[in-house]
Symmetry: C2
Subunit: 396 residues, 2 copies
């Protein structure tokens, strides 16, 4: 059933107890691809797994019954946004995000680091943290590793992220090197101030697309012995071949018995390629954001429902899809909803696009368990939706 277990650490099938109530087991590998099982205080996550993004404690336009129906296992919520609105104290008063947003299954919060860097033009990065202007009212704030942990402990997600400095591969090497050092220092600080045993702290590897810096960052973070590792600083403007080479390097460097989370990838092609390189978990706003503009992933490629050619199309959005949208509605109806700016259009396309990624992961997992992932991946790579020029991918 399995062919190899790359890297060091526990072999296939060994259950690895992580911090507190967590465990992770690689159940099978096929090439570098891994099928795993993550256990958290709020249930299991079978990997590879795409994680819908619920930035402000709601996956936009998709409520819990629909999320459960489409097979979502874990959702991501955003520390930066929730810190400002409605504030972490309110979420804590609810007993945490699970009750606040009515999602009794696993939740991951990011650390706020990415937004601190991406949402402010006037940030000042120091060794202690980052000073920046809030997108909500322009007020100045200082985010530190300790504050990121304090907020994440109040939010109460199962998986929490260390506070990092996201350094795109397009920056100068010196800047990336500096970000690697800060990220390690901050990760150490996060680890030091963590008080909750029911949250698994994930260390984030930086280093852009520079092999030496990635090796350095990984070595420093491995020395801190995190329960899981994230690959940060990718999908932020670098070339796709550089991104994939870096993911391959990470697969070699990261311990095989900890799950790996790629931060920010959600197009079908990208998802297949990072699964093929040993990634277990990933997230992206792309499926729901595209849906709100009227676009859908389909087996014919990415379609924009505003297009006049769908005006009389009585077929389903994607005959190959098993989601509620594709089983009950026609393209012509969806086009009508999108053109009339009806909320139902956003609801249905969001459900569909999320289901496409969840199903892709489910099928990838089956292929890995069957020891047949490479054949499956090649089949997927040949599909129009994955080869689609819209995906703007430069994979060879």
């Amino acid at each position: 059933m399995t062919d190899d277990a790359s890297g060091w650490g526990a072999g296939v099938g060994d259950e690895q107890a992580l911090d507190g109530a967590f465990s992770f087991a690689v159940q099978a590998t096929s090439g570098r691809a891994r099928a795993g099982r993550l256990t958290t205080p709020h249930g299991e996550v079978l990997t590879p797994c795409f994680m819908p993004v619920g930035t402000k404690a709601t996956v936009k336009a998709v409520l819990r019954p629909a999320l459960e129906a489409l097979g979502a296992q874990v959702v991501l919520a955003n520390t930066y946004h929730l810190y400002f609105r409605p504030g972490a104290d309110l979420v804590r008063a609810h007993g945490g995000l699970h009750r606040f947003m009515d999602w009794p299954h696993p939740i991951l919060t990011d650390s706020g680091g990415f937004q601190v860097f991406s949402l402010s033009d006037t940030r000042i990065v120091g060794d202690d943290g980052v000073e920046f202007s809030s997108v909500y009212d322009g007020s100045r704030h200082l985010f530190t590793p300790a504050l990121a942990m304090e907020v994440q402990e109040a939010l109460g997600a199962d998986l929490v992220m260390s506070f990092d400095q996201c350094a795109p591969g397009t920056l100068d090497r010196d800047e990336i090197a500096c970000a690697v050092e800060r990220t390690t220092r901050w990760a150490d600080e996060c680890r030091a101030v963590q008080t909750r045993a029911d949250q698994l702290l994930v260390g984030i590897v930086q280093g852009g697309v520079d092999e030496e810096l990635r090796r350095r960052s990984a070595a420093q973070l491995l020395a801190l012995d995190f329960g899981a590792y994230a690959i940060g600083g990718l999908s932020v403007g670098e070339r796709d071949d550089q991104m994939l080479a870096t993911v391959e390097l990470m697969d070699e460097l990261l311990p095989a018995d900890r799950f790996r989370y790629f931060m920010g990838i959600g197009d079908p092609r990208g998802v297949i390629e990072v699964i093929a390189r040993g990634v277990d978990l990933f997230d992206c706003v792309l499926p729901t954001r595209l849906a709100r503009t009227g676009s859908a992933f389909t087996s014919e490629g990415r379609l924009n429902l505003r297009n006049a050619r769908f005006a009389d199309d009585l077929g389903p959005l994607d005959p190959a899809c098993d989601c509620s949208c594709c089983r009950h509605y026609t393209r012509a109806y969806l086009r009508h909803l999108v053109n009339q700016r009806e909320i139902a259009g956003m609801q249905l396309l969001s459900e569909h696009n999320l289901r496409v990624l969840v199903r892709l992961c489910e099928r990838a997992r089956q292929a890995i368990l069957a020891g047949d992932f490479e054949r499956f991946a090649d089949e997927v790579r040949g599909r129009p939706d994955v080869a689609d020029a819209n995906e703007r991918r430069t994979f060879q």
Copy 2:
């Protein structure tokens, strides 16, 4: 179980076969209030019944699973809007609205008459029909009784409405009298051109709040022997006491064995008062429109969730409500969603507001079946949500 059966026609419990595949039975009365059962080709409607509005073939922000869960039995779709977008031919090509919008239960379409009058400043009313400018592109169009029927037959709803001239009680008496005559002539024309036996054509009584004109309109329409009657021209600016007096008059004039549809009422107080005066069916955009502005019907009165006093409120939106929103979320969470303009806020408040009206009808029906409606109505009238000044009702 019942106390009387007002008016002439079939007594309580007699099943009255209407046109084609339809039947209606008054199962019980309590005072003037009636509990009935309407049978249509797409299932039964137990009355009194509030009908959610799906103007453009979608109840805004509420998909079928949620509509079914909250107990919606029949929805209304809008001939005017669907005629322009996406066009009746496309809906017919789907096999009608039931498949187009994925609602396999009963559907009612209005005739377009109300929008022709309310959505155009430059209409020209003639004896043949109404010329007006489309809200979509300003183009000029002529709606006639024959066209209204042709479009409604293409849309394929179970219940269809005659094309009428809506004449508010605030107009001059001569204008209202003229509208009564036109409405009768047009109703006769609608009846003459109807070809589908699987649609029940509902005649609309006009006459403003003038007793003599109402009597005249009712007599003329009764002579045409419609399978059911609607009370039009109310809830359009007249005083509430005038409106209710007119509904009482209608209760005396309309046959007891046909269902009565009050067009356009959807606040809890108004709903109770028209049920108390023998109305079986009603609709309104108010519950879903209010929801999209962050407002909710609750047992404390109408609440706007934007209000800062809900910022830390960990209680349910309405502890007396059994809807999904009230069972799973706090007011503080809902306020967060509304303030952040999250679609989930519109979804949840729409479901809640619709459930409030559906549940009010369910409870009214139980009270009628128990012969106890007046006691129930008095209890409801005393509730803050019903006595609320926000309802802007002038009932005595």
